[in-house]
């Protein structure tokens, strides 16, 4: 379910909505094949302009993550390959942001890998 979240005011809102919906699809919070609420309803829940929401949906439909059935509404894609693809794209982006930040802070490849390994050892992630 899409709810109000803190928008970053410096980035177009429709892009942030797209990211949030992608995140929910990838994480499984939105089930593949499930119905999406109406644009108006979602806009109201998120406290944004309906046209902004519409713009996000146009983009998501273009990327085929959401499809429209003429009489019954909008649905999340059931294409698991596509969902996997979006997932790996989003992971790559996060890794690239992280590596960028580390490089700018003066760490080299070997340092980054070592630190990451150390972190994974110490923490309880599996």
């Amino acid at each position: 379910m899409l709810l109000k979240f803190e928008f970053n005011p410096n980035i177009p809102i429709y892009l942030q909505i797209i990211e949030e919906i992608k995140r929910q699809i990838v994480s499984g919070e939105m089930d593949p094949g499930s119905k999406v609420d109406s644009v108006r309803e979602l806009a109201k829940n998120m406290g944004v302009n309906p046209n902004t929401m519409q713009r996000a949906f146009v983009e998501l439909e273009r990327e085929k993550l959401i499809y429209t059935e003429r009489t019954s509404g909008r649905f999340i894609t059931t294409d698991s390959d596509l969902i996997e693809k979006i997932k790996s794209e989003s992971v790559r982006r996060k890794i690239s942001d992280f590596v960028d930040l580390m490089t700018k802070s003066g760490f080299h490849k070997s340092d980054i890998l070592r630190l990451l390994e150390e972190f994974m050892e110490e923490s309880e992630y599996e």
Binding site: P9, P12, K44, G47, V48, N49, N51
Partner: protein
């Protein structure tokens, strides 16, 4: 014709002093447009011209294809920058007056909104705090089923929590056939609700674009952008 408002080459002077210089813009149906600008930029003047309060201008102004007049007043709901509720009235009397006065006034909606904003309808309007008074005026204006809503600074004295309620009210109330023109200095609070913004500077339009385009183009919020361009020195 899908443009609800069409303004062409609008110029307005106050006693020789230029306020609006050759301004042109359109507002299509189903849009929420922010009218922004520093103090004295001409926001209120534009709104007064659109609503037919002021008529000594040059240029062409069309609202739903009509010049400002009887017809346009019928389809335009205006929140002016001055207070205008009669002082002897209670909130509920005010609602009754507007119900009688405007065919498109939805009394149930007004009552619903007043309840939502926790306003006691048995209070005398002069006994209301500044913020509550403003809320009542806005409820009255938004309860008409108008085509065009012209809101001059609707959020000035209103507390932050109620601001959100009011913005949500505006967002859910307008429909595909109606548009909202809203002026404010509290840009940060409302920019999530805008489709587009018209930013005035030096008697002219500096920006007239979709908000998300402005954010993408300048990499900053509308609020931040305005802080920059309104700087006087």
């Amino acid at each position: 014709m899908s443009n609800l408002v069409e303004i062409t080459n609008l110029t307005k002077k106050y006693e020789g002093k230029l306020v609006l210089e050759d301004i042109s813009f359109t507002i299509p149906n189903g849009r929420i447009i922010g009218l922004l600008g520093a103090n004295g930029a001409g926001k209120t003047t534009i709104m007064k011209i659109i609503t037919g309060v002021m008529s000594d201008y040059t240029g062409k102004v069309l609202i739903d294809n009509h010049s400002p007049g009887k017809y346009t007043k019928l389809i335009t709901s205006y929140l002016p920058d001055k207070t205008y509720l009669s002082s002897w009235m209670k909130v509920k009397d005010t609602v009754d007056l507007f119900t009688d006065f405007y065919n498109d006034f939805d009394k149930n909606k007004a009552m619903e909104l007043l309840k939502l904003l926790n306003i006691d309808i048995n209070q005398n309007v002069t006994k209301l705090s500044k913020g509550t008074y403003e809320k009542v005026q806005l409820v009255i204006v938004m309860s008409r089923r108008a085509k065009l809503y012209v809101l001059d600074e609707p959020l000035g004295g209103v507390d932050p929590a109620s601001r959100d309620t009011i913005i949500d009210t505006i967002l859910t109330n307008y429909n595909e056939k109606s548009s909202v023109l809203l002026s404010t200095q509290l840009i940060q609070d409302v920019e999530r609700a805008f489709d587009g913004v018209i930013i005035l500077k030096n008697n002219k339009i500096l920006v007239n674009d979709e908000v998300d385009n402005v954010r993408a183009k300048f990499g900053k919020s509308i609020d931040e952008y305005c802080r920059e361009v309104f700087k006087c020195c």
